[in-house]
Symmetry: C2
Subunit: 433 residues, 2 copies
């Protein structure tokens, strides 16, 4: 087999066999196939796509390229959850304790954020003392004990994806749906869960900008999951507006705390209940999404989810007093943005909110950037709400005065107030199963 | 400027600026831009194409990447000729002395053959003593003295193309028309001629298999030539049938000798007269192709072209007695193929003839392969001619008995005889100017 022939085949729009795809992945990881052939192949895949069998095989070969988690020692049917990333998306922190409280174990590996979308690991790092790295034994023991553990993705998990992603990142081949689908799914497959619930977001603040692309990505990921024997569901949700009121690591954890105590924003709760309910269905604790939602609401109302959250934080070394006292270090440079007129707050593009948070210090521009965990913003008023002239609309936080000043320059254009109430999109668009 | 953004731009089908194209070529040659980015970009170019300005700029930047010939010391308007390659294509050896005899100087750099198409330098190497490498001074002095010199392409000419071609060859990005056009033209531009006549072949034995592709390639090359101030003409000719009667290096030189002495095959003469006449037009020695053809025929009839050929061989150290005595070493393993029936010899696919010649030893399978200069084949009868049962149709030559045996296995399917006279295609299809 010669790689140049496989590139040619894909370039001509033909289908690669399982053996050919395995040859590519193994050759790339073992460095028999040079980067310049892989990048040309990835560009051909961008233009020609891959069929479901090819995508599943690519996923499988990548998942098998490194360590694979064996979760067989965990009691119960482990379910994983993945979001394609959005602005203000803290659903994992909320769903984790709720679903665990309902009896479905969650053993989750998560990533750090890049660009305007945050990462769960960064959010958890804002809890004083919280450890995001556990040995595999400690990880499994914790899941068996409290039903929930969230750790940073191990370096040995799916080296093929790590290597391929790094190459795609510098060769303009990131936005290929089959390559995205196999990248996400290879990590889920290697992480060992039997069930997978995917939150596929679309809109200005998401990786997929159109519903059509999100649908395609969702359907490819579900197809891969099923091919590889995992019960997989994808929920397609709107990310043209940021989720909840808070954007930024510490601020989002504070919002999770409020929500677990029953004071959360509607949109965040709606998405979390939908995703969590599917996790209960896939985890065989609920027969329907409706039943799942009822169970989750009960776990909130009874305080069971809150209790589980505290156990989780404590088990990973986090300071529970910081949680109960809301004692998080927030950026000391703060600014309230006041409404210039009375009226309805209009919609605010999620990507611009993400970029504003990044400018304030809450996100990484490059993988090397340091995050300011206390930076970010909070919506006092959410788009669609009525506001009186002079009332505060937005709070900005940063640890750096210059960054705050830079952020302030971006705010003016974001806040629009009008007498017409804006129509907000449906949050949950579709479910692919 | 970041290469990843330029790949993205091309991937999205946008047009790159002159500065961006120059940045790519210079970065590649100076090794600031890694191969894996160039190969991804080349694949994007395969799918998206380039517009005439981009292609011209790519050609210019590549031509300027190394040494450029200064032919200003040559008296007269130097005209270059290039063929995209075909089976039995020995036109350069024929046209060179004819055109030079008509007063247009030819200072030509030529390549070695690869695959089933032969290279002029290999053909010249079959003349005992012939030197294909000359210093630049000797090269120019020879053109000024006898109007004709043909040498192997210098290693310092267009390093960007050499590097890019090597990368395209292993990344399945060879067959992109704008990349082919700029590759060919960059070498012609760097080689310094003011006028360029291109022989663009199409058909089974050519690089372009369809007339449509050949037309596109011809029109892109003419457009590049004009953009860069060279008077450029492309003749599109059929290469579904091999040209002339001989295929193989020594055998083709023998056919050139016969043709210069007035005994050549019609098809070879027709293509040579068309190309040569255009060289006289571009070289400002003829006002029309018709006038050009008359002048060329005169140079043949008067013996001036033959005389010029002997001067050329002698000037480059070749043994003129070998020419006049036809003393070429031919493969000692020979076989005559006889007609199994009486009838008209049917058409024979040029690529299969090329492959047969390669199997006999006349071509290179890889750049490292050694050529058997005395190997090849001669058509005693050409397709379209009548043959009696038992008469010889084809002669095979090889220096290696096993290769001859292998070649013989291929012959049976090639020779078809039928009572119907086959219709042969028009040789000269179009001229692009």
């Amino acid at each position: 087999m010669r790689m140049v022939d496989l590139i040619e085949k894909k370039k001509e729009g033909l289908v690669l066999t399982k053996e050919e795809i395995r040859y590519i992945v193994e050759g790339f990881v073992q460095e028999h196939i040079p980067d310049y052939q892989i990048s040309a192949w990835a560009m051909a895949v961008f233009f020609r796509g891959m069929n479901p069998e090819e995508t599943a095989e690519l996923t499988k070969a990548m998942a098998e390229s490194g360590e694979q988690l064996d979760l067989s020692e965990i009691l119960g049917r482990v379910v994983d959850k993945h979001s394609t990333g959005g602005v203000g998306d803290k659903t994992t922190l909320l769903i984790g304790p709720m679903v665990a409280a309902c009896g479905v174990p969650i053993a989750k590996m998560s990533g750090r954020g890049l660009g305007h979308t945050g990462g769960t690991i960064d959010k958890l790092s804002s809890i004083p003392g919280f450890k995001v790295e556990l040995s595999q034994e400690a990880f499994i023991a914790q899941v068996n004990k409290i039903g929930l553990a969230v750790v940073a993705q191990s370096g040995n998990l799916v080296p093929a994806d790590k290597k391929l992603y790094a190459l795609r990142d510098v060769t303009a081949t990131v936005n290929s749906i089959p390559l995205i689908a196999s990248s996400v799914m290879s990590k889920k497959i290697a992480a060992g869960a039997r069930g997978i619930v995917l939150d596929v977001k679309y809109g200005s603040g998401a990786f997929m900008s159109t519903l059509e692309d999100a649908r395609e990505l969702a359907s490819q990921m579900v197809s891969i999951g099923k091919s590889l024997g995992r019960d997989t569901v994808a929920v397609i949700s709107d990310m043209n507006q940021s989720l909840g009121r808070a954007v930024g690591n510490s601020l989002e954890v504070l919002e999770v705390i409020e929500t677990l105590q029953g004071n959360g924003p509607e949109d965040l709760l709606a998405v979390s209940l939908e995703l969590g309910a599917w996790m209960l269905v896939v985890g065989e604790k609920a027969d329907s999404v409706e039943e799942g939602k009822q169970l989750l609401r009960k776990s909130l109302d009874s305080g069971a989810a809150w209790e589980r959250f505290l156990q989780f934080v404590s088990a990973q070394g986090g300071d529970c007093r910081a949680i109960t006292n809301r004692a998080f270090e927030l950026g000391t440079c703060q600014e309230r943005i006041l409404a210039q007129a009375s009226g309805y707050l209009q919609k605010i593009d999620a990507r611009r909110i993400g970029n504003l948070a990044m400018v304030l210090g809450a996100g990484r521009e490059t993988k090397q950037s340091e995050i300011d965990l206390g930076a970010g913003l909070v919506f006092i008023k959410k788009p669609g709400e009525w506001v009186e002239a002079g009332e505060p609309v937005l709070l900005l936080y940063s640890g750096d005065k210059e960054k705050l000043t830079e952020g302030l320059l971006m705010v003016d254009k974001l806040i629009q107030i009008s007498s017409e109430q804006p129509e907000l999109p449906e949050l949950i668009q579709e479910v692919v199963r």
